[in-house]
């Protein structure tokens, strides 16, 4: 069965990539060789003191050490080989990928780093609903197919938020301003669908709270995901929370939408009666948050590494 499958896959890929080389079964023949583990090469000489004792801190608010300069905007690394494309295609045909199919919405919005709110980014959320009160989002830096995965955001209803301990609430942000101002947008979806009353989508979202961890600080030029995860905050209607107009304009031009117009349409959406003051912590307390990664004793049940 396997060789037949491989042959069929070769044909499929060759048809799909007419300009590529035509592949034979031989190309995919499994290489089998008997070799043993490679032990650590002697050329890999690292000062032993350094390896054992000095694991430096990584912090979300500190710039990482230098990495080589790469040309252009693409992440470093060789382009995908034909072989890898085939493996990928094969996997996609045979695996069901159910959780990914549950992503039903694309939201374009903006976020700010809690430790430096002058750093603002456009974000692309791919949203999965677990129930009426809970959403989980995979966040990317663009909606292109080569978008970089930059973090995860969780969104909960006000009901759930109120049940969280005070210390936890500090890590969350409110969505009312972001929604009502039109910053939170659904590319390609007519606004009338999103604001339709029976669905109450935006009205519920306006009362929700989010927790957003950013794992790849692409806006500071990181070519690879470096450092500790950073806590993000949402746009707000006052000073530090205001999103720079040029960012909004750029977004609006790309999607041929008008944030101003969406704001007008959304004036009818009810403001939440109350926004918990623990959320958007910077507003009341003037403080942001950073994450530090520090060395510690690992609790072990077997030798490590």
């Amino acid at each position: 069965m396997c060789p037949t499958y491989l042959t069929a896959l070769c044909h499929h890929i060759t048809r799909a990539c007419p300009r590529g080389p035509s592949l034979t079964h031989h190309d995919l023949h499994l290489r089998v060789s008997l070799s043993s583990y490679k032990t650590m090469a002697s050329e890999n000489e690292i000062d032993s003191k350094r390896t054992l004792h000095t694991v430096s801190m990584a912090s979300s608010d500190k710039s990482p050490g230098p990495t080589p300069d790469y040309d252009g905007q693409k992440p470093p690394g060789e382009p995908m080989t034909m072989h890898q494309h085939i493996l990928d295609k094969g996997a996609a045909l045979m695996q069901s990928l159910k959780p990914i199919k549950q992503m039903k919405q694309h939201v374009c919005t903006f976020a700010l780093y809690s430790h430096d709110m002058s750093r603002q980014i456009e974000t692309h959320h791919y949203v999965t609903r677990l129930n009426q009160d809970f959403l989980q989002c995979a966040v990317y830096d663009t909606d292109d197919s080569n978008g970089r995965l930059i973090g995860v955001e969780y969104i909960v209803s006000d009901k759930i938020f109120e049940s969280l301990p005070l210390e936890e609430q500090k890590l969350w942000h409110s969505h009312a301003y972001e929604i009502k101002s039109g910053l939170w947008a659904y590319p390609r979806v007519p606004e009338v669908i999103v604001t339709a009353k029976p669905e109450l989508e935006l009205e519920n979202l306006a009362k929700s709270y989010g927790k957003f961890w950013c794992t790849w600080q692409v806006d500071r030029g990181d070519r690879l995901p470096l450092g500790a995860p950073a806590l993000m905050m949402s746009p707000q209607g006052v000073n530090l929370g205001m999103v720079r107009p040029d960012l909004v304009q750029k977004r609006d031009r790309k999607y041929n939408i008008s944030t101003e117009d969406m704001k007008k349409v959304r004036t009818e959406i009810e403001e939440p009666e109350w926004i918990n003051p623990q959320a958007d912590y910077w507003k009341q307390h003037g403080k942001g948050f950073a994450i530090d990664v520090e060395p510690t004793e690992m609790k072990k049940i077997a030798p490590f590494p």
């Binding site: 230098p66 080589p68 690394g77 995908m80 990928d88 996997a91 695996q95 992503m103 009426q132 990664v293």
Partner: protein, 234 residues
């Protein structure tokens, strides 16, 4: 200790909401997530506590030949919880990381060679073609939802996770549970993968938390005073 499936508080999804989402799913573009083509199953443990182990379902897409980015869920079902992220890079890319960064990354050599990391539903010979490459890679895994301690919501700080590096670390019952569910044998697969090789230069000594543990802590930072920032918006 076993992989939990947290009961997330909240009301069931309303009909109207579900219909709206069907609509958006049909109209909108899903560029980055359409590139997610692989499902990989493996185990992670917390970088400060090996006794806390989690079955991790990775859904991966290639950025290019040398880098993958994965969403991590607690299961492969439709109602799976999104619990973390993993980035997987080639040895070449790993070597370009600053030394302070390298400890946050772990190796995949043992997981792959022991059979414990696998691609559900993919026939062995095909799976091995990809895993040969994965064997040489390094990964950075961050979890946001500590389901193993019974959290029914993603509370707390992000956790750096580590991967298995030798026999004796993985709880036998976790392993057995996966083997039974997927009808596989890690031992058998280990034999099939004996030919595979890890990183060309060997496992970097700074990887895998440089052999220690890692912990994340929260620190408050100063914001510019809210009123002091003069912003002019035209």
């Amino acid at each position: 200790m076993s992989t939990a499936h947290p009961e997330v508080p909240g009301d069931p999804t309303q009909m109207g909401t579900a219909i709206l989402e069907k609509t958006t799913a049909a109209i909108q573009g899903f560029g980055p997530t359409n590139k997610i083509h692989q499902h990989l199953c493996a185990f992670h443990f917390y970088s400060d506590d090996m006794s806390r182990q989690v079955e991790a379902h990775h859904f991966c897409g290639h950025q290019n030949e040398e880098m993958r980015q994965c969403l991590i869920y607690n299961s492969s079902e439709a109602d799976a919880r999104l619990i973390g992220i993993e980035y997987i890079i080639s040895e070449e890319l790993f070597m370009t990381l600053p030394d302070e960064e390298k400890p946050l990354w772990h190796t995949h050599e043992f997981e792959v060679k022991s059979g414990v990391l696998f691609m559900p539903g993919i026939p062995g010979p095909i799976e091995r073609q990809d895993l040969e490459k994965v064997c040489k890679t390094y990964g950075k895994t961050i979890h946001f939802w500590q389901i193993d301690r019974g959290d029914n919501l993603p509370v707390g700080l992000p956790q750096i996770m580590m991967a298995l590096t030798r026999d004796g670390q993985l709880y036998p019952n976790l392993a057995q549970d996966v083997e039974e569910r997927y009808g596989i044998s890690f031992e058998k697969e280990r034999e099939n993968r004996a030919y595979m090789m890890g990183p060309e230069k060997g496992i970097h000594p700074l990887a895998n938390a440089a052999g220690k543990g890692l912990k994340t802590n929260l620190r408050e930072t100063e914001c510019k005073p809210v009123d002091a920032v003069p912003r002019v918006f035209v």
